[in-house]
């Protein structure tokens, strides 16, 4: 620690000659602290009642927090080499929203994955599937290759791999040639990406989306802080099991950026709170993968109180040009294939009620509502919008038979002067 301070004083001296002294105060400090070979993120915030500390290991008063506090306060290091970390008690372990959560279930791994082996099995998978054909029943070679992939990807299985396998299995079971092609094309791209010595930005994004990003890797993980998010939609998508992956879509009310927070069903490792909710994010990590980027909330509070002003802020970020959606979707699909599962928050000008419901923008471009993935949700949406055009609709974009469609996940309808949000 003394070396750190020494370096800081030196840097200040170098700055001091060139710039006038700056006045201000520290509200929050974040530290990467390594104890016993394990690196954690510690956040210290000056609150009204004193200093509030939190650590990504999830334990209150842990060794990492102690090291950070000693640094801040200038207290000398103890003589023992390491401090035993306090274990959680039952009363401590409700995942406090002001304390970061455990990272165990977010796919971060201790050992690096065997990339060349993964690349090879992906190539084998594509070759086997193409040789056998998508409409073939009981393609043993394909199933065996999938099993090899799962074995290589290890435990805990990265969510991206689980989702990939889930979509491929679904595509093969339903003999969906288009979806199969998208998933296999993604596999081909990943096979190259995993072995690339100088991967492009797209290649890096694909790999991050698929196997996650190591904690602390600044090229692959970004940070956001002090934002207000609104969770607008939530769904469960197939992983290696049916409806295994819970996905929450969070909109940054300040920038309109959309993030997804994911967890395996019943696993810890995601924030607490219902949908919709307002989230005051103190600190979060973002994987620099494919949009909507995966996010892990490290320091946050969830609130059930969502004011009209928050909904109005959300409205400012809705997409009103459906032609732009199509173009954007096309671009992403050509680069990221099935790895891209874009989320859209749209405001239609009107609706069209032909054989299939569609949202229509001011230019007359239609966006069909998907009936396939959740027919019940589609019909509920149809009921809700019998007498009213929705203010906005949130959902995931898919393509089918040459049409871009929206899988509706939630909507907002104006009833009188009250904006009513409804999950579908």
């Amino acid at each position: 620690m003394e070396a750190f301070r020494h370096a800081a004083r030196k840097a200040l001296r170098e700055l001091g000659a060139a710039a006038p002294p700056a006045l201000g105060h520290i509200e929050r400090a974040n530290f990467d602290v390594r104890v016993g070979g394990e690196s954690e993120l510690v956040s210290l915030r000056a609150g009204q009642s004193g200093l509030v500390s939190s650590c990504s290991c999830g334990r209150a008063g842990c060794a990492h927090v102690q090291v950070a506090l000693r640094f801040i306060s200038g207290v000398a290091e103890p003589e023992v080499a390491s401090v035993a970390a306090a274990g959680p008690t039952a009363s401590e372990f409700r995942p406090s929203m002001s304390a970061p959560l455990r990272k165990a279930d977010d796919g971060a791994r201790a050992e690096p994955l065997a990339r060349p082996a993964l690349s090879e099995v992906l190539d084998d998978l594509v070759t086997a599937a193409v040789r056998t054909g998508i409409t073939a029943e009981n393609a043993v070679s394909v199933q065996e290759t999938i099993d090899r992939l799962l074995h290589l990807a290890g435990t805990p299985l990265p969510l991206g791999v689980g989702r990939f396998v889930g979509r491929l299995r679904y595509a093969l079971e339903t003999a969906d040639v288009d979806l199969s092609a998208e998933v296999l094309a993604a596999a081909s791209a990943l096979a190259s990406d995993l072995c690339a010595s100088e991967p492009s930005a797209e290649a890096r994004a694909r790999v991050i989306d698929w196997i996650g990003a190591p904690r602390g890797d600044e090229e692959r993980v970004g940070r956001v802080s002090d934002r207000i998010f609104l969770e607008v939609a939530r769904e469960w998508v197939h992983g290696t099991e049916r409806a295994q992956i819970e996905r929450r879509y969070l909109v940054d009310l300040g920038s309109g950026d959309v993030y997804r927070e994911q967890r395996v069903r019943r696993a810890r490792g995601a924030s607490v709170g219902p949908c919709p909710r307002l989230i005051d994010v103190g600190l979060a990590e973002v994987d620099l993968g494919i949009a909507p980027r995966c996010i892990r909330l490290l320091q946050y509070t969830s609130s059930l109180r969502i004011e009209r002003g928050h909904w109005d802020s959300l409205l400012a970020w809705t997409e009103r040009d459906f032609g732009a959606l199509v173009r954007s979707y096309r671009e992403k699909a050509q680069v990221f294939f099935s790895l891209a599962e874009p989320f859209a928050l749209v405001s239609p000008a009107t609706m069209s009620r032909g054989s299939q419901l569609a949202l229509v923008d001011a230019q007359g471009t239609t966006l069909l509502l998907d009936t396939n993935q959740d027919p019940g949700a589609y019909r509920r949406f149809e009921e809700l919008t019998l007498d009213a055009v929705p203010v906005w609709v949130a959902g995931r974009l898919v393509d089918r038979n040459g049409h871009l469609m929206l899988v509706p996940l939630s909507t907002a309808i104006l009833r009188g002067d009250k904006l009513c949000h409804e999950r579908l």
Binding site: S91, R94, P95, S96, S98, D123, V126, T127, A129, V130, R131, T132, G133, T135, A136, A175, V177, D178, S180, A181, L184, A185, S188, A189, R234, W236, R242, A243, R266, A270, V272, G273, P274, C275, T301, S302, S303, L304, R305, A333, Q334, F337, Q356, L368, T371, N372, P375, G376, Y378, R379, R380, E383, D399, R400, N401, G402, H403, E422, R423, L424
Partner: protein
């Protein structure tokens, strides 16, 4: 990844991928994709999938795509229960001006629906009664008193929401009591809401709703549909296991507690339970969905049923679907009951309570003698829900020997439901002795059928009974004749002729109300036989017309209209023209009156 140059070819990339390169001309595909003839399989595979994707994506939003039909909408149609009962099909509302619960004007009819209808119909009946109590100044005071007394004495928690809202609008002691209860509920809600906010503000660590006493919790959640968004979202978080505090037992307690409330806002959370197949929560979540009149509930339950392999689950889902009017689980429930697995009988009876029809009464009634009291109770409930008059005899016999007052109460409820249903259908109970004799006859025949291994023998016996019936009829011994025909019908359940003869016999003897019951049974067995048989369809139409006229004279216009609508739903082309014309006139008159 580089893409090879595109070369026009005969083979379609998409179909090559669909069929597989092992069965199509691989050389042709390589040429099509611009690959060298010796390109490896791996390279071929990569190029092919990328080509298919790029072709598909390029068409997005294009003119070509505009003309391609999108995938057909998945079928979420409901397989309507095949009961020949107009009541079973009477909608809650209709925009087409037809008969519906929301349009009924007779409080007596609505009270009968309250006792005999499906949950959605009962809820609609309570609401409609409320409308009439506040808007119909001409309602005779005995009817008004009867309606209010009935609502006050209703202890069904799944109707508590509607009942509370109706009683609150009344003047008098009942209205005051209801408003006082509403005030108490609001105070409870205020306390809970404050604790919910404190929970999410991290000032409290204990989940506030499962921390309530059971009675308070039931009281709060019986009016779930009136809960503010904040509390609902909190409940949703607990159900989805995203509140960070509740354990599985607390989750289960909460899901069970919200079951009667029927709030559609919780459907997405319940979906997460159903699709996640949480063992502890699955059953209460299914029951919850069956109480929610929401299109998503049906789609979810149907999907779960199609995927389910475990017998207990399939029966539970079959019952839930039956409650929503979907009869797809009927065959499975019947089959399970006949197999007689003790572990599954209860579930099968619960399913048949929602799905069963007159054909099931005999079989279900046998379980009234079961040693397991829980099974006896399930059988009683099932017979009450099916509400077929033939169950009156076995239920009355059970009541005579029942020792537990709880069981006697269930039997009374079931009997009341049967009488209510008969009232709605314009039927009347058969005199006890005759009904007993018929019941014993059919029971004996059913046992013969169950024990006999020779179908030819059973058919021969049925035919013998049938001819014997004709003999007794010729000799003027009507009751004996009917007993023989009932025996024939019991021995051959799919044989409609004996039942038609019973119906015609009763009709000719002026027992119109009893004839209706028999005609309905016949319709359930073989509708096309009746509709294509001129004598049968004419006799049936006449019976319905005469009964409609009779109940109309008694001031039961709703029931009369129901009878007319029911018979007009049949194919009457083979019926006598005079009867058809009279029925149509009556229908037109009813519609005019309704406007």
């Amino acid at each position: 990844m580089t893409e090879p140059e595109v070369v026009p070819g005969q083979l379609d990339a998409r179909s090559a991928l669909a069929k597989g390169t092992s069965v199509v001309d691989a050389a042709e595909i390589r040429r099509m994709l611009g690959l060298p003839a010796d390109a490896e399989d791996k390279e071929l595979a990569r190029a092919l999938v990328v080509r298919v994707v790029r072709d598909e994506v390029a068409q997005l939003g294009s003119e070509i795509a505009q003309h391609r039909p999108s995938r057909e909408q998945q079928d979420v149609s409901v397989i309507v229960a095949q009961r020949a009962s107009y009541l079973a099909r009477m909608p809650v509302t209709t925009s087409a001006g037809g008969l519906s619960i929301a349009s009924l004007g007779d409080v007596r009819t609505l009270l009968a629906v309250l006792r005999a209808g499906a949950l959605s119909q009962r809820r609609a009946a309570v609401s409609r009664i409320g409308e009439l109590l506040t808007s119909d100044a001409d309602m005779p005071s005995p009817f008004r008193k009867l309606a209010i007394d009935t609502l006050c004495s209703l202890r069904r928690i799944d109707l508590a929401y509607e009942v509370a809202h109706v009683l609150q609008t009344l003047s008098g002691a009942e209205g005051r009591a209801a408003r006082a209860e509403q005030k108490a509920w609001q105070e409870l809600l205020n306390r809970v809401e404050a604790r919910v906010h404190a929970f999410w503000d991290e000032q409290e660590g204990e989940e506030p709703i499962t921390a309530l006493h059971g009675e308070e919790r039931a009281h709060l959640l019986s009016r779930a549909r009136d809960l503010p968004e904040s509390v609902l979202r909190h409940i949703a978080a607990v159900i989805e296991n995203t509140d960070g505090a509740a354990d599985p037992a607390q989750q289960r307690t909460l899901v069970a507690a919200i079951e009667p409330g029927g709030d559609p806002r919780l459907v997405p959370s319940l979906r997460s339970v159903i699709e996640g197949h949480d063992a502890e929560l699955f059953a209460p979540a299914v029951r919850c969905l069956s109480c929610i009149g929401d299109v998503r509930a049906h789609a979810l339950l149907k999907d779960a049923y199609d995927r389910s392999a475990r017998a207990e689950e399939r029966l539970l889902l079959a019952a839930a679907l039956g409650a929503l009017g979907d009869a797809r689980g009927l065959g499975y429930a019947r089959e399970t009951l006949s197999l007689g697995d003790p572990a599954l009988i209860g579930g099968a009876l619960d399913a048949l309570a929602e799905l069963g029809g007159t054909d099931d009464v005999q079989r279900i009634a046998e379980f009234l003698e079961n040693a397991d009291e829980a099974i006896v109770r399930s059988a009683v409930v099932a017979l009450g829900r099916i509400a077929d008059s033939r169950a009156l005899v076995p239920l009355s016999r059970l009541r005579e020997r029942a020792r537990r007052s709880a069981l006697r109460a269930e039997i009374e409820e079931a009997t009341s439901a049967i009488h209510a249903r008969m009232e709605l259908l314009g039927e009347e109970p058969t005199p006890h002795d005759a009904a007993s004799a018929t019941w014993d006859t059919t029971r004996h025949a059913a046992r013969t059928l169950a024990h006999s291994r020779d179908p030819a023998f059973v058919r021969a016996r049925a035919l013998g009974n049938y001819f014997l019936g004709y003999l007794w009829r010729t000799l003027g011994l009507r009751d004996r004749a009917i007993a023989r025909f009932e025996s024939a019908a019991a021995l051959r359940p799919g044989w409609v002729e004996p039942v038609v003869v019973i119906a015609v016999l009763r009709g000719r003897h002026g027992e119109i109300a009893h004839a209706l019951s028999a005609f309905r049974r016949a319709l359930e067995i073989d509708r096309s036989y009746i509709e294509n048989h001129s004598l049968a369809i004419t006799a049936m139409a006449q019976a319905f017309l005469r009964r409609a006229e009779a109940v109309d004279r008694e001031g039961r216009a709703d029931i009369a209209r129901g009878l007319v609508e029911e018979i007009l739903a049949c194919d009457l082309r083979k019926a006598a023209a005079g009867v058809r014309s009279a029925l149509q006139e009556r229908s037109d008159a009813h519609r005019t009156q309704a406007r």
